[in-house]
Amino acid sequence: MTANLVNILMGGVFHAAILFLVAAGLQVVFGVQKIFNLACGSFYALGAYTGVSAVAYFTGHGGPPALFIIPLALGGLAVGLVGVIVERGLLRFVYDRDETFQLLLTFALVLMLEDLIRMTWGTAPVSTGGLYLSYGQAKILGATVPVYNLLVIAASLVIAFGIGWLLTRTAFGRIIRASADNREMAEALGVDMRWVYVRVFTLGSMLGTLGGALVIPATAAMSEMGIELIVEAFAVVVIGGLGSMRGAFVGALVVGILRSVAISVYPELEMLLIYLIVIGVLLWRPRGLFGTAAA
C-alpha cells in the first residue's frame, strides 16, 4: 500500500520536475516580454530529440554509457540557443503589437518547429534505449524508483533555486524584475531592452529544451509531444499564476501529482481533471495562486 503510494507520488514528482522547467521558461518570458509563448512545448520537443541524438553520438563514439546524462543535458541546453534566432528573427517585430498577434506568431512557431522536427528526425518515435536504468533503482519505503528520476528531480530543484538566486541576488535578475515591472522606466534608466529580451527569451527556451532532454530517457520522443505538453504547461501557469516563478513551482507539483494519481485511480479522468481545475482557477481566481496581474 505505502509502496504503491510512493510509486504514484514519485512518478508525479518526476513529471512535475520536468513540467516546472518548461513552465518556468514560459513564466520568465511572459513576465518580462508579456508574450504567452505557445511554442514552449515545441522547444521541449526539440530538446528531447536533440538529447536523443546527443546521447547516440556520445555512446556511438565510445563514451561510457554511465555518463550519458552529460551529453544529454549539454545537448538540451545547446539547442536552446535557437531562442536567440527566434527572438531576433521573429518576436522582436511584434513587441508593440496587440497580444493576439504575439500569440499567433508563437503559434506559427509551433507549426514550423513541429515539421522541422519531423524533417530532421522522421515520424517514428526515437528513444535512448536501455540507458534509463543504467543508474540502477533505489528502494524508498518499499517502492522501487529509478535513480535517474531522483537525479532529474534534484536537478530541477537546483535549477529552481538557481533561478530564484538569479532573479533576486544578481544584477541581471534585478534588471529582469525591473523590466517586468516597468519597461519604460527600466529603459529610461539605461537598460538596453533588446539585450534583456534576447537573454530572457533564450533563458526561457533553454529551460524548455533542457526539460525535454531530461525527460527523454524515461520515455520516447514523438513529434506530437510538444503540442501535448503545452496544454499541461499552460495548466501549470494558470494554476500557479501567470508570470510567477513560485507559481510555476507549486503549479507543476499540483499538475504532476494530480495527473499521476488520476492515471492510477481513474485513467479516464487524467487530463480532464486538470482542465477542470484550470477552469475553476480561472473563474475563481484568474490571477492564479501566486500571480499579480488580474484579468
Binding site: 521573429l90 493576439t100 506559427a108 514550423m112 496544454v231 499552460f234 480532464l272 484550470v278 477552469i279 473563474l283
Partner: protein, 318 residues
C-alpha cells in the same frame, strides 16, 4: 459597385464549378464551404468583437459529432434535421461556457476557451463507449431534401447534390451574417471592440453583447462542423484539438479579419494552398507557419488588406 460585380462573378463561378472543374477540386470545395460557415461565425467574435478564441474547435467538434451520432447511432439521416440539431447542441453548450468566458478578455479569454476546448477533446478521447475514442465515429451519408440519392456513387453524391446543399447553407449563413453585422447589434459589437468604456457609458451591456456574439459564433461553428463531417465520412477527437482552433484563427487572419469576406477568402486559400503544398512537399506546417509569421509581422490585414489598399484612390476619384 465593384463589390457587387465581384460577388456576382464569384457566385456564378461557385454555381458552375461542379459542371466544369475536375471532381477532385470540387471535393476540395466542400471543406472550404464548411470552414467558410465556421469562419463567418468566428470572425463575429474575432474581427467584430475583438475576442480571440483558442478553443473554437470545440464547437466544430460538437457539430461534427452531432451529425455522426444522429446518423450512425439514431438512424436520423436528414441533413435538414442534423444541422438544426448541431446548432441546438452548440447553443446548449455555448450558453454556460460563453457566460463564463466573456467575463474575461484578451489572453485570459483565449486561455479559458482553450481549457474548455481541451475538456471536450479529452472527453471525446477518453470516454470510448460514448464517443468511439481516438477512432471516432462514422458519419453516414445524410439524405438531402428528402432524397437518399441512392443511385449516386460517393463522389457523384459529394460533387453533385451535397455540393449545392453546402453552397446553399453557406449563402444563407453569409446573408444572415451580413444582416447581423449591419444591424444595430453588429454596430454595438464594433463599438465595444473600439472603445469599451464608451460603449458602457452609452448603455451597452458589454458582457451581454459579447455573450450573444459567442453564442452566434458557436452555432455557426457547429453548423460548419456538421457540414465538414460528411465529406470525411468519419469524425474524430482531433477536430476539437487546440491546434485545430489555432488553424481556424489562422484562416481568418490569412484572409483578413477586418473585412466581411476576408475569412471566406482565408478558408479558400488555406484549403487549396494546403493541398498544393502537400502534393509537392509533405511538411505543409513548415510552409504555413512561415506564411502565418509573415502575415503577423508584415501584413496583419491579411489578403483582403492587400487588396483593400488602393481603395482610397478610387474613393477620391468617385
Amino acid at each position: 459597385m465593384r463589390t457587387a460585380t465581384v460577388l456576382t462573378l464569384v457566385s456564378l463561378a461557385l454555381l458552375a464549378i461542379p459542371l466544369v472543374a475536375p471532381a477532385y477540386y470540387v471535393t476540395l470545395m466542400l471543406p472550404f464551404m464548411a470552414y467558410g460557415v465556421v469562419l463567418l461565425g468566428l470572425n463575429l467574435l474575432f474581427g467584430y468583437t475583438g475576442l480571440v478564441s483558442f478553443g473554437h474547435a470545440l464547437f466544430i467538434g460538437i457539430g461534427a459529432y452531432t451529425g455522426a451520432v444522429l446518423t450512425s447511432r439514431f438512424g436520423v439521416r436528414q441533413m435538414e434535421l442534423i444541422l438544426p440539431a448541431a446548432a441546438l447542441a452548440a447553443a446548449v453548450v455555448a450558453a454556460p461556457v460563453g457566460a463564463l468566458c466573456v467575463r474575461y478578455v484578451k489572453i485570459y479569454f483565449g486561455m479559458l476557451t482553450l481549457a474548455f476546448g481541451m475538456v471536450f477533446y479529452t472527453f471525446l478521447l477518453k470516454f470510448y463507449k460514448l464517443t468511439g475514442g481516438d477512432e471516432g465515429m462514422r458519419m453516414l451519408r445524410p439524405s438531402l431534401l428528402g432524397s437518399e440519392w441512392a443511385g449516386f456513387s460517393k463522389t457523384a453524391y459529394l460533387v453533385g447534390p451535397y455540393y449545392y446543399f453546402s453552397l446553399a447553407v453557406l449563402v444563407l449563413a453569409t446573408l444572415l451574417m451580413w444582416r447581423i453585422v449591419r444591424s444595430p447589434f453588429g454596430l454595438c459589437l464594433k463599438t465595444i471592440r473600439e472603445n469599451q468604456v464608451k460603449a458602457e457609458s452609452l448603455g451597452v451591456s458589454v458582457p451581454l453583447y459579447r455573450w450573444y456574439a459567442f453564442m452566434v459564433s458557436a452555432v455557426y461553428a457547429a453548423v460548419g462542423g456538421a457540414l465538414l463531417a460528411t465529406p470525411t465520412g468519419n469524425v474524430d477527437p482531433t477536430l476539437a484539438y487546440w491546434t485545430h482552433s489555432g488553424n481556424i484563427v489562422f484562416m481568418v487572419l490569412l484572409g483578413g479579419f477586418s473585412s466581411f469576406f476576408g475569412p471566406l477568402l482565408g478558408a479558400f486559400v488555406f484549403i487549396f494552398l494546403q493541398d498544393t503544398v502537400m502534393s509537392v512537399f509533405p511538411y505543409w506546417r513548415l510552409i504555413f507557419g512561415a506564411v502565418l509569421a509573415f502575415i503577423v509581422i508584415f501584413a496583419p490585414g491579411g489578403l483582403m488588406g492587400l487588396f483593400a489598399r488602393p481603395r482610397p484612390v478610387e474613393v477620391s476619384r468617385g
